[in-house]
Symmetry: C4
Subunit: 123 residues, 4 copies
C-alpha cells in the first residue's frame, strides 16, 4: 500500500483563462494534481468570482498512483463552465491528501508566456 | 456560514510596476485575494521602498465569498499611489483569514512575460 | 561539519518536457537541488504519469556543499527515460535534508518562456 | 518600534545569471528582501556551485523599514563575484527576520521571460 502525501485542501487565488491564442499553442491553465496513494482521490473544485456567486463542487477523480493535469476549461457543473477572460479563484478539496500546482500558458501574443506556483495548502 | 481560510498577514518582497507597454496588453501587477468566508474582508496594504518612507495602510475590501484581483496601480492614499519603474515590496494585513497570490504581466516588449508566486504568510 | 538544511521528501506535480525547441536555447526542465551539508546526498526520483505505471527510484547523487541543476531528460532507469510531450509529476526523496526547486524553459516558439516554483515539502 | 517579520534563513536552489541580453532590458536576477522592522538587517550570502567550493559570507545591509532588490551580479567577496552562465544556488542568512523572494528576467532573446518564487525558509 502506498501512502497518500500532501494536503486535502488547497487554494489558488489567481485564476484566469486567456480569451485569445496565437502561434502554435493554445492559451490554457492546468491544475496539476499528484495522487501518490494506492487509492483514487475524489476532488471537488469550487470556483469564486469577483461579482457573482461561486460555482460549487465540480467533481474530478485522480486514479491511484497517477497525476492529472486538469485543464480548467474542462471543469463543468450542469453545463456551466468557467468563462474566459474573467478573474476568478479556485478551491480544491480532496478526500485524501494530494499535492496541487497551478500553471498558466498564455499565448495571447505570438510567443508564449508561462507562470506556475504551488497552490496554498490549508491545514 | 462559510469559514475564512488562509492567513491574516502576507508579504510580497518583489513589487515593480513596469513603466512601458507594447503589444496588445498593458503591463501590470495583480494582488489576487480569495475570501472564502461569509463576511467581507477588510485589507490594509503597506508599501515599502528602497529609499523613502513607506506608504501605509491603503484600504481595500473583498466581499464575502468573492475574489478580487487588485491592480497595484489602483492603490492610493490621499492621492498618492505607487510610482512606476521603482522597486518596492508589499505587506497585506486582513481582519479575517484570506489567501494572497501575486502575479505580474510584463509587456515592455511586444511579447508578454508572466510571473506568479504565492505571497509569504506570516503566522 | 556543515548541517544538512531543508527536507528529505519533495513533490512537483507539474512536469512536462516540451517536445519542440526553436531559437538559441533548447526547451528543458531543471530540478535544482542544494545540499548544504558536509556529506553527499543520495536522491531517488519517482515519476508518475496520467495513464501508465510510475517509473520508480531513479538515483542521483548531489555531492557535499554542492548544488546540482538536474535535467529531467537525464533521468533514466534501465534505459527508460521520461518521454517528451507527456504530462507527468515528480517525487524526490533524499537520505539527508536538501532544498528542491523546479524550473522550466520553454522555447517551443522563437522567444523563451520561463516558470519556476519551489517543490512542495512533505514533512 | 516595528516588528521584524519572516525568517532568518532562506534557500534558493536555482540561481543562474544569463550570459546574454538582447532587446531593451538586460538579463538579471534579483534577490528581493523586505525588512519591516525598525532596525537594519545584516545579510550574509553564501553561493554554492556544481563543481567548485562555495563563495561564502558576502555581506549586504537592508535598512530599517526598507526593501532592497539585490542584483546577484552586485555580490562580491574580495573582488570575486558570481560567474555568468553557471548554475549555482544561494543561501541567505540575516541577523533579524526578513522575507526573501527570487526573480529572474531573461532577455537572451529579443522578448523577455520572467520567473519568480519565494525563497525556501529554514526554521
Amino acid at each position: 500500500m502506498y501512502q497518500a502525501l500532501g494536503e486535502k485542501h488547497w487554494i489558488i487565488p489567481d485564476g484566469f483563462i486567456p480569451p485569445d491564442s496565437s502561434g502554435n499553442l493554445t492559451s490554457h491553465e492546468s491544475v496539476c494534481v499528484l495522487n501518490t496513494s494506492s487509492e483514487e482521490a475524489m476532488l471537488l473544485f469550487t470556483v469564486f468570482f469577483e461579482d457573482r456567486e461561486p460555482l460549487e463542487n465540480m467533481m474530478f477523480v485522480v486514479p491511484a498512483r497517477r497525476t492529472k493535469h486538469i485543464r480548467t476549461s474542462a471543469l463543468h457543473k450542469g453545463g456551466t463552465g468557467i468563462p474566459v477572460g474573467v478573474p476568478y479563484a479556485i478551491e480544491v478539496r480532496s478526500d485524501i491528501p494530494v499535492v496541487v500546482q497551478y500553471s498558466r500558458l498564455d499565448s495571447t501574443q505570438a510567443e508564449n508566456a508561462l507562470m506556475s506556483t504551488m497552490a496554498f495548502p490549508i491545514k
